[in-house]
Symmetry: C2
């Protein structure tokens, strides 16, 4: 199990990583321990590349999160970007700037969390770079994936008349964060807490949509529906109409105030990592009603005016302004 003796050197840490390395990753020729990792790319495939920071005090707090969830969530963020491209994640490079306060057990648990998710998707964690320093703990996870040539899902392909879909519930993660902050410990089994602590990137669905050519555009909802839909619309040069009644949000008992907040979470809350995608009217019938147990909801449609409006049941139209988290502006 875990040991409390600290790592004596970078070499000892690298040896520990090598011993614990995930099993065989198809295509990988060389993982940890050389100047760089080396991998085959099957012919007919393109590579996709993304990188995501997780910073103590910005993306996580060591008081609210266990190291295992911090590691899990860091991998989830990057895998979700790969899912949104319709690609298969293959390799992760982890750069870890480690606070001097972090114990060996803490680092081992962090990696346990990363491996837990990486193993499930057969992603190889290829080491990377690690340093101890007198600052805040920070992870950067770069993931490289593969997709069949010409099949990647882009943000830029949505056209007026396309329908807008989301896979799974929105706002659960923001609600989970609220519960976590309130230390709702007896609610640990709560669906929202689970969604916040262990989000599930939708790699299978992304891959399916890409392979079948069903989506005209796609993005993952990482900073909130209002923000990520805005990004998709900007990239495509279009706008969108959302139907309030169709937006899949957490169910709450008859509590009007909570229900209103859950709609706000669904519209603006971050870290749901659900795929948001558009599909031409001709292909709508081929979109499955659910995929791997997750319901797919048609929540609106694309139109030409470059704005996002929310249609209420009483027919009222509300202009939606992006309110998602911007790590650049807010901090």
């Amino acid at each position: 199990m875990v040991s409390e003796r600290p790592f004596q050197s970078e070499e000892e840490f690298v040896r520990w990583l090598q011993k614990r390395a995930v099993g065989r990753v198809q295509g990988l020729r060389l993982g940890i321990g050389d100047d760089a990792a080396l991998a085959r790319v099957p012919s007919g495939r393109e590579i996709v590349m993304t990188t995501d920071l997780s910073i103590e005090g910005v993306h996580f707090s060591t008081r609210l999160y266990t190291p295992e969830t911090i590691g899990y969530r860091a991998i989830a963020r990057s895998l979700s970007d790969i899912a949104a491209m319709g690609a298969v994640p293959k390799y992760a490079l982890v750069a870890l700037a480690l606070s001097k306060r972090a114990s060996r057990r803490w680092v081992e648990s962090l990696y346990e969390g990363m491996w837990r998710l990486a193993r499930r998707y057969r992603v190889g964690i290829l080491g990377g770079d690690t340093a101890r320093y007198s600052g805040k703990t920070l992870l950067d996870v770069a993931v490289i994936g593969e997709v069949a040539r010409g099949k990647a899902l882009l943000r830029s392909g949505a056209k007026p008349g396309d329908r807008l879909f989301v896979a799974g519930t929105l706002g659960l993660s923001a609600w989970g964060l609220e519960l976590l902050k309130a230390r709702a410990r007896k609610g640990m089994a709560h669906e929202a807490l689970r969604a916040h602590l262990y989000p599930e990137p939708q790699c299978g669905l992304g891959r399916y949509l890409a392979k079948e050519g069903l989506a005209s555009a796609a993005i993952d909802v990482s900073d909130g529906l209002s923000t990520d839909l805005h990004r998709l619309c900007e990239a495509s040069g279009v706008g969108a109409r959302l139907w309030e009644s169709r937006i899949p949000r957490p169910q709450a008992s008859a509590n009007g105030r909570l229900q209103a907040r859950l709609l706000q979470f669904a519209l603006h809350g971050g870290e749901d990592y659900r795929l948001l995608f558009t599909s031409s009217a001709a292909k709508v019938r081929r979109i499955p009603s659910s995929f791997q147990g997750i319901r797919i909801h048609q929540i609106g449609e694309v139109f030409a005016p470059r704005k996002i409006v929310l249609m209420h049941e009483d027919g009222a139209e509300q202009l939606i302004i992006p309110q998602g988290y911007d790590h650049f502006r807010k901090s």
Copy 2:
């Protein structure tokens, strides 16, 4: 030119990056602005992947370095890893955790430094992730490169009897750091300062050695000859004998003390980013005496005992212990 108005949002920063993006990068289908970047990999090629942290207070100080040199050096570290694999660097993902103290001009200069080196090697900087926070500025640069299938240079192929080579002078960068710390400003044109501030990754040489199949093993000297030769020997299960008189070090006027220190810099100083490689006796004659103006020096040979010894001119043998920088242990 540079503007002093701060970036208002992550989106504005991304737009600035997109406008300034390096020109066409062969193979790149999609750079900044989607969930991930997308690129073709020619058939018959493998990909290499590496990531390197540059942390304020560990790898750089904002008092000693301009943002332009910080950016340049961060890219150089990763490109040198790719060079040591004999690969061609193609794409860089930059994750930037930015201290709140950093001005817009500072960030722009940082990117100017990164682009300066990236452009020269036709490497596309694909954006990545950026956040402002209340900690120290930190960059993580992941680079993806390409190499012909089966041609990558590994650390693990050295065999007893192989000869040991290094391309260019060792210890210049450590000397340059000393001059920099001493604020030897009038010495700005000094070769050592230049080597420290603007190291040149040896991508051309790495690629040549890989293509021609000349090297049995290779590594870049980033943490000092004693440390990186130790790593190469460990990976290959061998040892090495170095000839003191052959170790290429900076020339100094007749100053015995300085000359002794320059030998120490050459043996243990970091950040030279020279390629250290081995070649079988049968191929030694095919190793050029210089490449792109850089002299290639035969500095020793590989033997079976798993130790590194330095042979002095008087015939004395000295055991060499790795003394390079270990960011894990020292900090």
